[in-house]
């Protein structure tokens, strides 16, 4: 459950960032940072969809 929650949380956080961006709630200084975060979240979620647990473990270990 925890692991699944992690990805569900990432997904929810991504939605929040998109929402805040589109409502112009971010100033230019936050934007760069949030963009980076959003990209990370997207990659995390996409990896979860298309990579095996072993591959994901490897990716996480590289960091």
């Amino acid at each position: 459950m925890k692991e699944e929650m992690k990805y569900e949380q990432a997904y929810a956080e991504l939605q929040t960032i998109v929402h805040r961006m589109e409502n112009d709630e971010l100033d230019i200084d936050q934007m760069g940072e949030q963009l980076k975060r959003a990209q990370q979240l997207i990659k995390l979620c996409k990896d979860k969809l298309t990579k095996t647990d072993e591959e994901i473990k490897k990716i996480l270990a590289e960091k």
Partner: protein
């Protein structure tokens, strides 16, 4: 004393029965046993008291092979079931007493619509019971996890449907990863109920795999009050359960319509998807499950579509934030270049204004130039270098200077 042989006495019984019950009768009864032997069908009929369920009548019945080969296919095609114990049947019978084998009803026809009606009644009763228990819709309240990839499959191991299901998941066009595990169960006949319940139990208690790599701090989620022994804190090894059965739409569905199975499925904490391939609309297992589809491949397609939905949102988010960022940057750039362009203009406007004011000032200054006054014949008198405005300030011997157009006159006061 006159006595009869048993054969003579039994013959008397046979003749009496043949005379007294010459017709055929339609009789409603429940089967308490039923089996085939050498092409004949042997049944035990029973009638139970409606309240106490104690038998109030019993009898044997037989259907000879000559009739049975005609009756059986029709019955099974209509009801989708084989004759089995517990089933209510409407039989056309005549009485037969055989001196050696005793009394038996001989079956010449079976009305399958009666059995269908009875099955429908039983289903309605089960549905009513589930609603009374408040569990009929429980599965509908669950949600498939976004990343629904650990699939517990309940199926018979050999079923083609199971193979189709796994192949379809494995060969999905998006490269989604699924992990399936089979929990074998009997999907036909009277074993269905118990074997599916046993499989659900195994899924419920399967220990979840150890969390991988870096994870969030452990949180405990209490899904139910009773934590399964193998699954700590309500964490399950699977995201959903798929109950599938391949082909054979005409096969026996009765095992899927029992109260105990429905109760187990309805109250299961993980969403259950059914794909048990049948024509009927009113299978109770389908009704209480989270989602129902027709076939195992449709179940696989549903799971793939579900992940595709998640992927679409991710792609859409990606596109939206890229679009947003680009737009935001180009807006800022535009603002910046507008500013840059306006600076020289503002600057020159500002300079012009200053120049103008300078000219005005110099005009004024020109008008105030005292030489203009001198030229017109006025003079200025200075005392100690300052303009003298009041003669009373002067005393005898003071020297004053008088400026006229063409020079200066020095005078002493006398």
């Amino acid at each position: 004393m006159n006595s009869l042989s048993l054969l003579e006495l039994n013959s008397l019984v046979r003749k009496t029965i043949e005379q007294a019950l010459p017709q055929e009768y339609w009789v409603e009864a429940e089967l308490s046993e039923c089996h085939e032997s050498r092409g004949h069908c042997y049944m035990e009929l029973i009638q139970k008291d409606e309240l106490t369920a104690t038998p109030v009548a019993k009898a044997s019945a037989k259907c000879w092979a000559s009739k049975w080969t005609i009756i059986r296919p029709y019955f099974e095609r209509t009801t989708g079931q084989q004759l089995h114990a517990g089933m209510k049947v409407l039989l056309k019978v005549y009485a037969q007493f055989h001196e050696a084998y005793g009394f038996s009803w001989i079956v010449t026809d079976i009305d399958p619509t009666y059995t269908l009606g009875d099955m429908a009644r039983k289903r309605q009763e089960i549905i009513r019971q589930l609603k009374v228990e408040g569990i009929f819709d429980l599965q509908k309240e669950l949600r498939l996890p976004l990343f629904c990839q650990r699939i517990a499959v309940i199926s018979s191991q050999t079923a083609a449907g199971y193979g189709d299901f796994c192949n379809q998941l494995a060969n999905n066009p998006y490269g989604f990863q699924f992990r399936t595990q089979l929990f074998p169960a009997t999907m036909q006949g009277e074993q269905v109920e118990q074997s599916i319940i046993a499989a659900l139990e195994k899924i419920y208690t399967a220990p979840p795999t150890a969390p991988e790599g870096a994870s969030l701090p452990a949180k405990r989620f209490s899904q139910s009050n009773v934590a399964p022994s193998g699954a700590e804190g309500g964490a399950y090894a699977f995201d959903c359960v798929v109950i599938i059965r391949g082909g054979g739409a005409k096969s026996d569905m009765s095992g899927f319509d029992t109260l105990a199975l429905a109760e187990n499925v309805a109250q299961f904490p993980l969403p259950i998807i059914t794909g048990i391939g049948h024509d009927r609309d009113e299978c109770i297992l389908d009704m209480v499950s989270h989602l129902r589809v027709k076939t195992p491949t449709a179940a696989a397609a549903l799971l793939i579509d579900h992940l595709k939905g998640v992927l679409d949102v991710l792609d859409d988010s990606q596109a939206r934030i890229t679009h947003y960022a680009q737009q935001r940057i180009s807006t800022l750039n535009a603002q910046l270049s507008t500013l840059t362009e306006s600076i020289p203009l503002l600057l020159s406007r500002c300079l012009m204004e200053k120049n103008h004011r300078l000219e005005l000032l110099s005009e004024k200054v020109k008008l105030l130039d005292p030489t203009l006054l001198l030229r017109r014949g006025y003079s200025i008198t200075l005392y100690k270098g300052r303009t003298l405005r009041d003669p009373k300030l002067l005393s005898k011997g003071d020297e004053i200077e008088t400026r006229v157009e063409k020079g200066t006159i020095k005078s002493i006061i006398t």
